[in-house]
Subunit: 165 residues, 2 copies
DNA sequence: TTGGAAAGTCAATAAGACTGACTTAAGCTG
DNA sequence: CAGCTTAAGTCAGTCTTATTGACTTTCCAA
């Protein structure tokens, strides 16, 4: 019976429990993106723009290459998004001081305003979920999510936390 | 100071904490979909096919309309995916007994085999994350995810659980 | 000074989604 | 029975986000 691990652990590692976790992730992620998606639907922007804006706000001065890796997209993909954001005056691209090949990205006033609008909506939902579930649940939530990341992404996640802390 | 809620709750409801939660969701979801995506990349299928297969397996005999709402896509979108799956012999579509307008969807042997392959990979990651985080964390994880869903989706999530339990 | 890295661009392609319009078949209801 | 509604399926066109591949410009560094 207790061939793999303790009885307590066996209880929640059944296929059924794991499937429920998978479905919870699926449905929750839909909720997670729903509010920003709604806001962006009106403008000429999509989820890709939101992600770029989020991470530029989070790590101001980040380079294009940095952002590329963080978002997990190709240069060409990001460039299209970035170009419209720069043209529309939401993002500023400054030539690097030390290395002039690099471009450092910053949100303009207008960019920060949109960022606030988007993240306000997303944080409101997050806050409600956190409140409903309680502090202990939140700690567990964070632990499981972190364990679910690829090693490389976990590294980047922590790097961002240092930044914002 | 304690104007909104208790001190204990204030601690983890700072903007910074919420932002970290948002980023954790983003990075974890990437990990969550990475394994099935890799498997499907070789074949002519994508994430949309995976989702259809998952839910048909989960609720065998479900109707097209049911699946539509569950996945949150349009009829035309689902139909393209479903058509290829039926053509390739992974999904079977049976005319309804009670209502002949309805089509009930089932996985064939081949469909079940692919489902197993995909969900094995996804469950392996889930299992590893659950093990690493521990039982208490898992309970919290589930609570927060559930609180994050839209009401309608939470209803559907519970309906599926009844089904599979 | 030359090789390689960072950024940017052009072109072609694909998956996955959308709207809108329309057909077919079948159920329901007055 | 006639007529409205519902479930499914299809055709056509569009959009966003992503891809690969090829190429240029700029510039750092050995």
């Amino acid at each position: 019976m207790a061939d793999v691990t303790t009885g307590e652990k066996l209880l929640f590692l059944t296929d059924e429990q794991l499937r429920q976790g998978i479905e919870a992730m699926f449905f929750a992620y839909r909720g997670f993106t729903a509010d920003p998606d709604r806001i962006l639907a009106g403008m000429a922007y999509g989820r890709a723009h939101h992600r770029a804006i989020h991470f530029i706000n989070r790590a101001p001065g980040t380079t294009v290459n940095n952002l590329l890796v963080l978002l997990g997209v190709t240069k060409q993909s990001l460039n299209r998004v970035l170009r419209t954001l720069i043209e529309d005056g939401l993002v500023e691209s400054r030539v690097g001081m030390a290395d002039k090949r690099e471009r450092h990205l910053y949100l303009t006033e207008a960019g920060q305003e949109l960022e606030r609008k988007l993240s306000d909506a997303q944080r409101a939902r997050m806050r409600a979920a956190y409140r409903a579930a309680g502090p202990q649940a939140v700690a567990g939530f964070r632990q499981v999510l972190e364990a679910m990341m690829d090693t490389e992404m976990r590294r980047k996640y922590h790097a961002l936390k240092e930044n914002g802390a």
